[in-house]
Amino acid sequence: MSLAVPVVAAAGCAHCGAPVPGAARFCCAGCEGAHDLVAGLGLDAFYRRREAADGGLRPAADAPAVDFAPHARPEKDGQAIDLMVSGLTCGACVWLVEQALAAEPDVTRARVALSTRRLTLGWRGKAARANELVALLARFGFRVAPWSPACLRATEDAEGRELVRCLGIAAFGAMNIMLVSVAVWVGWDMGEATRAAMHWIAALIGLPVVLVAGLPLYRNALAGLRAGRLNMDMAVSLGVLASAAMSLSEVLRNGRYTFFDGATMLIALLLAGRVLDRAARRRARQAVAELLALQDGTVTRLAGDGTAEAAPAGNLRAGDRILVAAGERLRLDATLEAGEALLDASATTGESLPRHFAAHEALPAGAVNMGAPFVARVTAAAADGSLAAMARLLEQAEAAKGRFVDLADRIVRYFVPVVHAVAALTFLGWWLLGGVVWQQALVAAVAVLIVTCPCGFAIALPAVQAVAVGALFRRGVLVASGTALERLATADHAVLDKTGTLTEGRPTLLPGGWTEAELREAAGLARSSRHPLARALADACPEAPLVPGAEEVPGRGLVAGECRLGSAAFLGLAEPDAGLSLWYAAPGRAPVAFRFADRMRPDSAAAVAGLQGLGLTAELLSGDAAPAVAVVAAQAGIEHWTAQAVPEAKAARIEALRAAGGRPLMVGDGINDAAALALAHVSACPGDGTDLAQTAADLVLRSEGLGALPGAIRTARRAQRLAKQNIAFSLAYNLVAVPLAVAGMITPLFAALIMSSSSLIVIGNALRAGKEAA
């Protein structure tokens, strides 16, 4: 017994839950600070209440410098702000955030919505206080970003809310009509007058419900008709409206049965399928918006007198001067004002080595500053810049993709005319040849429409989609587009980008001729810098303690006492700076070099092998130089590769593949991949990719790396197979039901049985889509 306790205690960091070596309680200094802070606030119940700790709640060593004050809005008695809080996993996180903020004396309200990750915060006092409150959350390990318009779009879902409202109305109608319908079905001894009263009640509820709750369906049907297509909603709308009209005629002539129950139940089931499908995809969309919001930031604008102020990128105009700090991403088109700049343009061009830019040279928007801070002059406002132009192009490409015709619509195209012809013939046959009154003939004809109208059919796909998208979400694959799964299932060619997709897209430390002790010292010194190489060095030795009193010489290196870390020139060495390297010199020892390179992601080769195992031909398409691409291609096991591909060439390659009848899956993360991502049959982007690429891609892989991609394809294919089974099953059902309907033997009871049993079978089958693919 005494053995079990220490094992459990050593299993994970007491704050974030990440695995820790040995008997340490914490994985890093940040977590220790967070734990003390939580305990100090008297909120340590958090650790008992939370459901899971997966290492996600680790305070970042250096929080991105975003000024929240401009986002605060004045209120009656103070300020308020809307924030997006990333890292909330369960109710305990909500509790911790709300309690910790409420304990601040000037905070008037703090409320978190767990589904949307939205924190509404109000306080008395100055707007600048927002930064301190955000810093408090950052110390717990939550990552906070201003609530962006994209977050709002992803959560504010007017259409989804209308669907839920209509579902409520339809469900109410279906249940209450069933109340009177059952009475008619079993009431063999019911008098004619009572039956008429029952029918009138059913009509009184049924007609308004059919008209109001069916609106989303009718609107879709009209939109399809205007675009010149028959869609699933057309079939459903005609079936529902025809059965409501026929039932009304039956009420008027006091017929035996009305079909109001079937019509309302059909609407309710269809809307339920759609609401579930939407909810699954909304969650994915929100997660994408969350990733994007974390990338948003402010720009440092220099006023005429040289003072710096933070401003959102959208507020800058052409001609403004901006200061770009080391490690910061350039968000606007600009030219270099003076001096020299070293930029990592891998996101824009795919080159893995940073490039030098001379004064007055145009700088690529999206590049990261790898050198000293520099001043640049903005040449175009964000809305007119190259990034915005790219976003507009992507939107057009997206719209073109929206015309993709999914499986259901392809079948409906043939199915609907056939069913309507059968219904028309049934009506004519009974009326002209059968010698019954036209109302009687109408009952048979509408029965054909209602039994074919196909709950199974219309719910078959949304149910599979909702289950598969939900299962993928749990595995870290975000599917935001409605047809993406079907397109993913049919992909036969994988085109991969190199930098940032197969590789990590940032420098990592290579093994070299240094000792562990030297690495520890150098990493401790590097910890105080935001320079990308210094951060890579600090990441390589996360347990190194911060060296106090370190001073940064911008663009050159760091000094702490006698120790120096920086470029060869900074240390006074004659060595050339080969590639990416940092030199470290301590008194009395020879200087050592730390070399860095963009490294393959550990799971890339396995992911490529997985894709090839699924029958996709892999191809590497990179903007980088040929030798670097060849090495990565060989490591990843890809035979075909192209180097120095400009964005246009990437897009052209995708076009060529599509023209040749291929269905390419494009995987990329950079701004230079965005056009190709949007054009491809289906596209995916790693979670740490650029915002443009994430917007353009159909799937975003939340975890870093491509490991989840083969599994996602397997799930998509499985979902597709289940969808086909469901449709085949619904068609088979019709083979039995339609002849009965034509013969006029379908009663409303029978129709209700068919509808609910086929729906249950189809939904049961759809649930299998979430199972882990073998």
Binding site: G42, R49, C90, G91, A92, V94, W95, E98, Q99, A102, A103, E104, P105, A110, V112, A113, L114, S115, T116, R161, V164, R165, G168, I169, F172, M175, N176, L179, V180, G191, T194, A197, I201, I205
Partner: protein, 53 residues
Amino acid sequence: MNVLVLLVPVALFLGLLGLLGFLWNLRAGQYDDLDGAASRILFDDLPRKEPRP
């Protein structure tokens, strides 16, 4: 059967009451944060206000 004259309207009225309640909930935003509401019910303590040391 005369009892139907009373029972059917009563049943419908109760159903309608439920529907109206649902629509009101929806409009009031009670369906906006289902995950949060589910765990919020377990928070038993009110936020404390303490003067900062």
